[in-house]
């Protein structure tokens, strides 16, 4: 009896203690009081002979090595890493640790646009934002003006530019011209025509595909191009996500219809075994400018002279065409660099010089460089028709309503939408779950979310 009472008393005491602990303490919100706008930064003591460390992905390695060869006087330590591809957070992880230890940052890095969202802000109250604002005395404004329309948008925060865009991945309509001619079809110019053609292909040539939605970035090809406000930044920390907007529902039901008909697959172009089993059955693909070389040429091994690109599709009745963007890297300069001069010179050469860009692996974001790239026959030989006008047009039509957010847009799509679709649910039925995941993710990193 006695011990029972004592237990009750101590339980109440413990509850009270918890209440006091929880109530009378400092906020645990990591975003509270952290809104410093790091427009200016404190550079390290500079040494124009200091060695610079460069982190690049393997695709851009050759360019960095070419710079090293042309400038033997610059001391460089070149490190290859995953380049933040496929939502990797290696760079972010490392910078978090460098910020805590106070050393180790690379001077120049190749990264994904998502990385700029965290690199442009301090990772903790005592840290300095990793990326240096390049418009603060590093790169002339005239140079920045020459990047393709909107291509520097992912670099811009609080009115400053924190990176140089390496390449853009504007979405176009890829098609196999030989097959299309053989089947006697014409190239669609609107989504409605694309849908009609998909249904026709399913009936007349079953087995052939006009698209695939199972890749980690398929939503950027379809829903971004459709101007679906899945993640629209309406302010620095305000996000609008409305997947019941008619642009989203129209695209979802279009794809649902074609999936049911069989001419759009729920597998991914880059999935295991896809190239072997279905590579030669791809009649059409809505996808980024690098699909030409990296999907059709390298993965599917489609012979040269068959593949062509057409302008981005638009909705019937809409005058202005908009398109999506799938990737495209950026170069950032570290604000901790001891040799900003050499770091800036390298970044500028990589992103703006014709020497480098004419033979760059992907479509340059810097407009004069893009002209040089298109003038290089090696970049166009593979295609059945000249892709220049299509690429240039699409580069300036990338819809700016798809925000570059602090969280990767691939997570919700790949881990919520794709498993549901694989299990047989329709995209239309999955839209609420998708929106819910985007909203939850956004809130967890500090955005205020509206769903209207």
């Amino acid at each position: 009896m006695m011990s029972h009472q004592r237990r009750t008393v101590s339980a109440i005491a413990a509850l009270l203690a918890v209440g006091v602990l929880a109530a009378a303490c400092a906020s645990a919100d990591p975003n509270a009081g952290n809104e410093s706008t790091a427009a200016s930064f404190t550079p390290q003591p500079q040494d124009t002979n200091a060695k610079i460390t460069v982190w690049t992905d393997s695709t851009r390695l050759a360019s960095v090595q070419a710079y090293q060869k042309a400038n033997p006087g610059v001391q460089m330590d070149v490190v290859t890493y995953d380049g933040s591809a496929d939502g990797s957070t290696y760079l972010q992880t490392k910078v978090q640790l460098f910020d805590r230890t106070g050393s180790g940052w690379p001077d120049v890095v190749f990264a994904a646009p998502t990385d700029v969202t965290w690199a442009s802000q301090p990772t903790s109250p005592s840290a300095q934002a990793f990326a240096a604002p390049v418009d603060q005395g590093l790169v002339p404004a005239d140079t920045l003006k020459n990047f393709a329309a909107g291509s520097l948008a992912p670099c811009q925060f609080n009115g400053h530019t924190y990176c140089l865009r390496n390449d853009i991945a504007q979405v176009v309509l890829w098609y196999n011209k030989s097959l299309l001619d053989q089947f006697g079809y014409t190239v669609p110019t609107t989504w409605e025509e694309y849908q009609a053609l998909g249904e026709k292909v399913a009936k007349e040539h079953p087995g052939y595909l006009v698209g695939a939605i199972g890749d980690t970035n398929s939503h950027e090809s379809y829903f971004w191009s459709a101007q679906c406000p899945a993640q629209q930044l309406t302010g620095p920390t305000e996000l609008r996500s409305n997947l019941q907007d008619q642009h989203c529902t129209k695209m979802a039901s279009l794809l649902d219809g074609l999936i049911k008909a069989g001419s759009v697959t729920t597998q991914g172009f880059f999935g295991q075994g896809f190239a072997k089993d279905y590579g030669s059955k791809v009649l059409m693909a809505v996808g980024p400018s690098w699909y030409g070389q990296y999907l059709f040429n390298s993965a599917f091994k489609t012979p040269a002279g068959q593949i062509a690109a057409a302008a981005p599709l638009k909705w019937q009745g809409e005058s202005q065409a908009h398109t999506g963007n799938v990737g495209g890297g950026v170069w950032m300069i570290s604000s901790h660099s001891k040799n900003l001069k050499a770091a800036t010179a390298l970044s500028s050469w990589l992103t703006t010089s014709d020497d480098n860009l004419a033979s760059a692996p992907t479509y340059p974001a810097y407009s004069p460089g893009a002209k040089a790239w298109l003038a290089n026959p090696a970049n166009k030989d593979y295609f059945a028709t000249d892709v220049s006008t299509v690429f240039q047009q699409a580069a300036n039509e990338v819809w700016t309503g798809w925000g570059n957010t602090k969280f990767s847009d691939a997570t919700a799509w790949s881990s919520v939408v794709l498993p549901a679709v694989t299990a047989g649910k329709t995209l239309t039925a999955t839209l609420p779950a998708w929106q819910n995941e985007i909203a939850s993710e956004a809130k967890s990193v500090g955005y205020t979310v509206t769903t209207q």
């Binding site: 303490c25 990797s88 957070t89 075994g273 691939a410 790949s414 498993p419």
Partner: protein, 309 residues
């Protein structure tokens, strides 16, 4: 654990060892000092640092339980613990029932050379590091490359994505863990069974006990402490699951949630949100669960009771 030798520890020897240690001298403390220093540096101090982080915020202010309340409200917190709970049920059932069962069969129903060969075979997967074993399973589970794709297709799985449906993941991870971990434990359980004096088994046989009764009423009760020990370690390792879902997340092109297990959620907190305090709170929750589980098993089974006569 790495040696194939089956440990045979006779009960009397253990008792004298206990007594000698109690009698004192500096050799004992000296022997453990090397380990204790490493344990302090890489085990205890980081834990204390995590405790400090979990009760403060990024500016070093004391936050009480607010960090915990905040992570409890995270939309990924409860699902990740749900995932790990289902996984633990599969994994503990598999490891306890199957390893003990297999060890009993190997010990009692098999000629010695064959039993030794099979024990060796069971052990091989355990020699692969966690990463390598996940790679093996990536091949096994992908119908387009699997050597047993007829089985996968027979079960209705035509693509890798179908195999990795969210509902299957707990079972998939339990299978991977069992495949890598069971061999070592079978060897340990076999060693434990070797400890049972031959006379006891003889006596049981004379009394007419068949293999079933012998296993259920003599062998398994006599190695109960070993089973508890295995359960504690398996439980602790299970709650900390990280490598397998993390690798599968990348290899499946993101089909697996990056916050499938609580440890992954802590990782995302620390290295993507830069929120080391929230990450520390999650790992403390895991620590408490691990300690509670171990405490329950230890006290209920009398694992560390030294029987004095």
């Amino acid at each position: 654990m790495t040696a194939l030798d089956t440990p045979i520890v006779a009960a009397p020897a253990r008792r004298t060892a206990v007594r000698r240690a109690r009698e004192g001298g500096v050799s004992g403390p000296l022997f453990v000092s090397g380990y204790v220093i490493l344990l302090l540096a890489f085990g205890v101090l980081p834990t204390l640092y995590a405790v400090f982080l979990a009760f403060t915020n990024a500016r070093g202010q004391f936050t009480g339980l607010n960090q915990f309340l905040r992570v409890f409200q995270d939309f990924r917190f409860w699902p990740s613990f749900g995932d790990i709970l289902v996984y633990l049920v599969f994994w503990l059932l598999l490891i306890v029932i199957l390893t003990v069962g297999v060890a009993v069969v190997l010990r009692s129903r098999m000629p010695a050379p064959l039993s030794a060969a099979i024990r060796f075979l069971y052990y091989i997967p355990g020699a692969l590091a966690g990463v390598a074993s996940v790679l093996v399973w990536l091949f096994m589970l992908d119908p387009s490359v699997s050597p047993v794709n007829w089985l996968l297709k027979g079960l209705g799985f035509d693509t890798f994505a179908q195999v990795l449906a969210p509902g299957h993941l707990s079972l998939v991870f339990a299978l991977i863990a069992f495949w890598t971990g069971a061999g070592g434990w079978i060897v340990v359980m076999y060693g434990a069974l070797n400890n049972i004096p031959q006379e006891v088994l003889e006596a049981a046989r004379m009394d007419g006990a068949g293999p079933w009764r012998m296993a259920l009423h003599i062998q398994i009760p006599m190695i109960r402490k070993w089973i508890v020990y295995m359960a504690i370690l398996a439980f602790a390792a299970g709650t900390q699951l990280f490598v397998e879902p993390q690798l599968l997340q990348t290899a499946s092109l993101g089909r697996v949630s990056p916050t499938w297990s609580p440890n992954q959620l802590a990782y995302v907190y620390a290295f993507q949100h830069g929120d080391f305090n929230g990450a520390a709170a999650i790992s403390l929750v895991l620590l408490v669960i691990g300690l509670l589980g171990a405490g329950l098993l230890v006290t209920r089974s009398g694992l560390f009771k030294v029987d004095e006569q």
